[in-house]
């Protein structure tokens, strides 16, 4: 019997490291299904444009997508709460745990199927490391230093950074570095050291700020056309679902490996890697303080934020109380390297 072919399109260009991450999902599905399920993995633009995958999965133009929920927050702002929402103290791990154990999955289903009436099943995978504050030509030490900067970011982060005094420019990915060079923007963030390095960020800015609250708990969004999914044998459905969990681990491994070695390469190109100052982090939190009440005017968003806040309050208390001071151990064995 010939295999069932699932067309899966990503929101990433063919050369992006995240295509490799998506490929890890594909490999797992194909291996576990013993060849009964084959995935035709397509880059952004192959069938539809990067930002159109939700519509496309709903209409059955593609059977599945590999993207992030922030890309469709124009249809419903609540989408960004499943990726780039307020940071209450939880990491990507915390939020992914909330999704699978804290009621997030059901809330996501409610948003997609009940509120928006879409024929789509959504899962999250790969708890992304927090996204760096990004690239600056000069040092920025205080929140006041950020004032008037023309900064590139996306999603709710744009609302946030605009709220703390930056003027946010919206640019497509490929134009970021040329725009920096031309002075159209004077600072930007994208996602992670590997993507930033591939962009050529070290050519246009020499200060790279790690740690920020603007997008600190994102994950990949896997969307499946519901009729496609539900027409499959139960074991194949299970394979599609649990491979998201499996790929989460392999994606994390690949991210640790690539992001860290690319951070070294970035430093070798004469870039100074800094930690974002507490003053700036505080300004970001105050920015979220202003945004949250606006978001909570919507009853559904209020419900999601309540659920997340409650989860983070309990889980992160345990996490932080429990985790040993890793920096202490690191300092002990690799003294003098950290600049926290």
């Amino acid at each position: 019997q010939s295999p069932i072919v699932m067309k899966m399109q990503t929101s990433w260009p063919a050369s992006d490291i995240w295509m490799e991450f998506a490929k890890q999902y594909v490999d797992r599905v194909e291996a576990m299904s013993g060849g009964r399920l084959k995935i035709d993995l397509l880059p952004a633009g192959a069938v539809v444009a990067a930002f159109q995958v939700l519509d496309a999965v709903n209409d059955g133009l593609i059977d599945a997508s590999h993207s992030v929920s922030a890309y469709w927050y124009g249809k419903n702002k609540a989408a960004s709460l499943f990726g780039t929402g307020p940071v209450f103290g939880g990491s990507g791990d915390t939020m992914l745990a909330w999704f699978y154990a804290g009621g997030g999955e059901e809330l996501f289903r409610e948003l997609i199927q009940d509120n928006m009436g879409l024929d789509v099943i959504g899962l999250l995978g790969f708890p992304m490391p927090a996204q760096p504050l990004g690239w600056f030509k000069e040092e920025v030490n205080t929140a006041a230093d950020l004032n008037g900067f023309k900064y590139r970011t996306v999603g709710l982060a744009a609302d946030l950074m605009q709220g703390i005094g930056m003027s946010v420019a919206q640019l497509p990915g490929g134009e970021i570095v040329p725009a920096m060079e031309r002075g159209v923007i004077d600072a930007f963030e994208f996602n992670n050291p590997s993507s930033d390095l591939r962009f050529g960020a070290p050519d246009v800015a020499k200060n790279y700020y790690l740690s920020s609250y603007h997008q600190a708990s994102e994950a990949f969004e896997f969307l499946f056309n519901r009729s496609f999914m539900e027409d499959l044998e139960p074991d194949l459905q299970a394979i599609l679902r649990h491979s998201v969990e499996a790929a989460s681990t392999s994606n994390t491994a690949a991210a640790m490996d690539n992001y860290s070695s690319d951070l070294q390469k970035i430093q070798e190109q004469g870039v100074t890697v800094h930690r974002t100052s507490t003053d700036i982090l505080n300004a970001e939190l105050e920015g979220w303080d202003k945004l949250i009440p606006e978001l909570e005017q919507d009853p559904y968003m209020k419900k999601v934020l309540d659920s997340q806040r409650e989860w983070v309050e309990r889980v992160t208390f345990y996490n932080l109380m429990n985790s040993p001071d890793y920096a202490l151990a690191y300092e002990h064995y690799f003294p003098g390297k950290l600049k926290l």
Binding site: K7, P13, A14, S15, D40, L42, G45, A46, V47, V48, A49, Q52, D55, A56, D59, G60, L61, P172, G174, E175, V177, P178, A179, E181, R182, G183, V184, G200, D203, V204
Partner: protein
């Protein structure tokens, strides 16, 4: 047939159907929809509504169910999705603005001032009128991004002057055809915007990259004109005092100043602001259009009539280019859904080509397509077939784009669809034959190939300016 083979027959059918002369945007749309109908065919989904139907159903109910059933194929959703993708394309927003600017500037009597001034300034150079015509074209090309009007304006202005000065008709018409098409190569250029939209290459880098190759081509054209005038003075005799009067140096300088000034303003505001980082191409195009309007007013060449003409022409040409994108986006997403792209890459990788052989083959195909087709169809429809192959041969899409842009200069000049030659033929005195025009064009075609070879051998010509402006 396997899906990828179906995709290939879709491409073959398109190439055949193009020659029936139906508007290409709608041919592409139709083929995308037919083949997509096949790709997404799902009988259950189509006739879902018939379960609701019984004997008592009226004629109207069953007809509307048939229509609903027919349209209940996902291809239509894909088509709408792709249409919207073109509508929201940020790169293409520059297209109507550059077109508008071009139409405004064309109507502002800039070309004639410039040509008559340069004619006097170049008086002592061999082939002086040809040189003046080429330089006028090149300067005008640096201010605007469209083609067509320049050939005609120069044809009305420079051709009669050259013929009167006993220039050989084929030599003179070759100069005008070749010079008149430079606008679409030298930035700002609509063609490069369209290539950027099709390939994802940064438009500002493309502009920076195209500048030196464009000037190189101008240089080769000038070399040919001057060289031929020296070796064979009979094709380009020195104009007499009546044909081109001498003027005092001061007068000449003043004339140069007044005719260069408007262009300098436009070039600085458009190209300068893009390259020196003051604006995005869309913004620069808007500033250019605004500047064009101001200039037109300053030169008393602006009237409501002219403004209205420019607006209407902008709508029509923008619609022409962008509907072509609507058709080709639909076509190509069905093509890649069926796996056609895959099959082509497998086929090409099976050929075991060296990168140079691949480049030669690709450019040869594009050159041949340029005979029957125009640049817009080639870039929007055919170039995307090559783009996924570039990484296989380690070819930079920026570099490839510049070679394509140079190559497509020939598409205006080669029969049967030689727009440049036809425009000129339309306005030239009847004794200038189309065959003479083509004969005059030949050496310029050779210069285009020479420029491509030089660019290939010295890729720095492409990379130097992007490096200076934007780093590597």
């Amino acid at each position: 047939m396997t899906d990828p083979q179906v995709a290939l027959s879709m491409l073959a059918l398109f190439i055949g159907l193009v020659f029936l002369g139906f508007p290409i945007a709608f041919t592409l749309m139709a083929l995308g929809i037919f083949f997509g109908y096949f790709a997404y065919f799902d009988a259950g989904r189509m006739w879902r509504g018939f379960d609701r139907l019984d004997e008592t159903a009226s004629w109207w109910e069953s007809t509307s169910l048939w229509i609903e059933g027919f349209y209940n194929n996902r291809i239509f959703d894909l088509f709408i999705n792709q249409t919207y993708t073109v509508m929201s394309n940020e790169v293409l927003t520059a297209v109507p603005l550059f077109l508008f600017m071009g139409y405004i500037v064309e109507r502002a009597n800039i070309v004639d001032r410039l040509f008559s001034t340069l004619n006097i300034a170049a008086k002592n150079v061999p082939g002086s009128m040809g040189v003046a015509a080429l330089v006028t074209c090149a300067l005008f090309a640096t201010a605007t991004g469209i083609v067509g009007a320049v050939v005609t304006l120069m044809g009305l202005l420079a051709l009669p002057a050259m013929l009167k000065a006993r220039y050989e008709p084929s030599f003179a018409s070759g100069i005008i055809c070749a010079g008149g098409t430079l606008g679409i190569l030298i930035p700002p250029s609509i063609m490069l915007i369209v290539y950027a939209a099709a390939s994802g290459v940064s438009i500002v880098r493309l502009y920076a990259a195209a500048l030196l190759p464009g000037l190189l081509l101008v240089g080769l054209y000038l070399t040919y004109v001057i060289g031929r005038a020296i070796l064979q003075p009979s094709v380009a005799p020195r104009p007499t005092e009546e044909e081109v009067p001498s003027v005092k140096l001061g007068t000449l300088l003043w004339m140069l100043f007044t005719s260069f000034f408007p262009l300098a303003v436009l070039i600085l505001s458009v190209l300068g602001s893009i390259l020196f980082g003051l604006a995005t191409p869309t913004e620069a195009a808007a500033i250019g259009a605004l500047g064009g309007m101001v200039l037109a007013v300053a030169y008393r060449a602006m009237s409501f009539q002219r403004l209205r003409e420019s607006v209407y022409l902008t709508v029509r040409t923008t619609a022409m280019v962008c509907w072509l994108f609507v058709g080709s986006y639909t076509f190509s997403s069905v093509f890649s859904y069926l796996g056609g792209e895959h099959l082509i890459s497998e086929f090409v990788s099976g050929l075991d080509l060296t990168p140079l052989q691949f480049l030669l083959l690709a450019q040869l195909i594009i050159f041949l397509l340029g005979w029957p087709l125009e640049w817009s169809e080639i870039i929007i429809i055919f170039v995307p077939i090559f783009l996924p192959l570039l990484p296989m041969f380690d070819v930079d899409p920026l570099f490839f784009g510049i070679l394509v842009a140079l190559n497509l200069q020939t598409s205006f000049l080669t029969p049967p669809m030689a727009m440049s030659a036809y425009y000129l033929k339309g306005i030239a005195p009847p004794e200038v034959k189309l065959t003479q025009i083509f004969k005059g064009i030949m050496p310029f075609l050779a210069m285009v190939f020479l420029s491509m070879a030089i660019v290939y051998i010295f890729p720095q010509i492409v990379y130097h300016l992007p490096g200076v402006f934007y780093g590597n």
